[in-house]
Amino acid sequence: MALDDIYKEVILDHYKSPRNKRELAGATFTCSANNPLCGDEITVFANIADGTVAEVTFQGAGCSISQSSASMMTEAVAGKSVEGAKRMTADFRGMMAGEVEPDEDVFGDLVALKGVVKYPIRIKCAVLAWDVLQDALDGAGEASGVQPHTVS
């Protein structure tokens, strides 16, 4: 094991300068979760309409892995269809389970989180934001993505 595997430059960059870390006014979906092990909390705001994830933002406090994963996620899923975002969520979980080899063209910066697989106890830090996104995407399926929807 080497710390370079986990604390890659791109991860630290998203941690120190998180993208889309703000409340999203008029979000159609607002979902929250926390990691009882470490106390990390995250809220994901999403604008999902007509089967498309228009915009995703997040707020919360946590370790570099949970925060950078959330930051990268907001960039990665913006503009995707709900189905596409669900597929990406499944692939990300697969990558963190060591079962899916990520397509770098699709995953972009997210590939950097692959090194976390070597630190099993930290995997849930990386997946936390995606669990919350999944709630929003599931909610979009149920509500056709038009009504404001809150899951906590």
Binding site: M1, L3, Y7, L12, G62
Partner: protein
């Protein structure tokens, strides 16, 4: 002041010679669980190899030996905490089970609407949640002693919190999240003056300093075995004998009964009415060996060693720029030091320190009220015991520099 040779102590703990990657293990998570010396590992193995049978049942030599060893461990635990009779010790899996036994066996039986249970904001969840459950079930009210900014109990309003309505004060002797040693003698006296009983969570106190429960006049004392060199699932509850008599059992089953009829049963004598089913016999026998080990060192020497190392660690951590939660003087605290190092999240810190072989805890330490009080989601915590050295504190502080290198932007 008696002392002991730390290197000799270390040689009794086989795990301390293992490595983490290519680094020697520096184990600083003793507040979560201690390591075990050969003497304890061997006592447990020896029980299985040579004496294993169920206790209090077999009318044959092995059964007698098992019973004798099990009851011998009870007598050792009683003497270790200053209880004059072994019957005042109920064996449990540890502090959590002990606190639940008080809350269930005493709380649910005797608490009524209008009664109050007083605890503190520095309690471990195991001394909060059982009281939430017991007060909700009985209609009693749960109240809290707040904390000061520097991690002490804020007793400025004690007179209005501890009143004739208070039926029980349940308080830690030493905080697992802040290290704080609480003023037990004064609190017990004040509680008794209003007619309240006192339960002491001894999980962190009993392993680290001499305790005389009868001199303190505590009514209950919860004891963890695995935090004081004993096997996991060892430990006990001390209670004054008349309280054990009055309490209800929590578990029904074998051994805890005297007679069983179609519609009811009668209870065994104390403490056996609380010990249903086959107990953790080998583990409690191992705890007996742990107590022998600590007694041979002397609990005053144990405390002196930890004072020395805690003072050194406080000094070095503060010097490195850490923010420490809890008292800054070693005399006012135990060896569990919660801290934040600059802006490095405790989870990241624990991962980086692990790379240097240093094992610390990162999280809320089952004390979310403490985390909320001081406005942090989690802390890093280093906690010491008899085998830790100043060189290991140095290894901790050196490893912090590596975190600094990664997270200084």
């Amino acid at each position: 002041m008696a002392t002991f040779d730390v290197q000799t102590v270390r040689s009794d703990f086989p795990i301390l010679s293992r490595t983490v990657g290519d680094r020697p293990l520096v184990y600083l998570d003793n507040a979560a669980t201690s390591q075990r010396p050969n003497q304890v590992i061997e006592a447990e193995a020896d029980f299985y190899r040579h004496h294993n049978a169920n206790a209090h049942r077999g009318l044959y030599m092995l059964g007698e030996e098992a019973t004798e060893l099990f009851e011998g461990a009870r007598a050792k635990l009683a003497a270790f905490v200053g209880a004059s009779t072994a019957e005042s010790i109920v064996f449990t899996r540890g502090t959590t089970e002990s606190m639940n036994l008080i809350a269930y066996g005493w709380g649910r039986k005797f608490l009524q609407p209008g009664d109050e249970v007083l605890i503190t904001e520095m309690e471990h969840h195991s001394n909060i949640v059982p009281w939430q459950m017991a007060t909700q079930a009985t209609g009693a009210t749960l109240r809290y002693i707040p904390l000061t900014d520097d991690g002490l109990l804020d007793l400025s309003d004690l007179d209005s919190l501890l009143t004739q309505r208070t039926k029980l004060l349940s308080v830690t002797g030493m905080s697992n999240a802040l290290g704080t040693i609480t003023p037990l003698a004064m609190l017990i006296q004040a509680a008794h003056a209003v007619g309240a009983l006192v339960a002491v969570d001894g999980a962190q106190m009993v392993p680290h300093m001499a305790v005389d429960v009868e001199a303190l006049d505590a009514d209950f004392l919860a004891i963890s075995g695995h935090k004081m060199l004993g096997p996991t699932a060892s430990g006990g509850l001390y209670a004054k004998p008349e309280l054990l008599e009055a309490m209800d059992p929590m578990f029904g089953g074998g051994e805890m009964i005297r007679e069983v009829f179609h519609d009811h049963a009668t209870w065994n004598t104390v403490p056996y009415k609380f010990e249903a089913g086959t107990m953790q016999i080998a583990q409690q026998v191992g705890l007996g060996a742990a107590i022998d080990y600590l007694n041979a060192l002397g609990m005053d020497a144990v405390r002196a060693h930890e004072l020395d190392i805690t003072a050194y660690a406080l000094d070095r951590l503060l010097g490195a720029g850490a923010r420490i939660f809890g008292p800054l003087s070693a005399e006012a605290r135990g060896g569990a030091i919660s801290f934040w190092f600059k802006e490095v999240h405790p989870h990241d810190l624990a991962t980086i320190l692990n790379e240097e072989g240093v094992a610390i805890r990162a999280g809320h330490h089952c004390a979310q009220l403490v985390m909320r009080r001081y406005g942090v989601p989690a802390t890093a915590r280093a906690s010491f015991y008899i085998y830790n050295t100043k060189e290991e504190v140095d290894a901790l502080v050196d490893a912090l520099a590596r975190a600094d290198g990664i997270f200084t932007f």
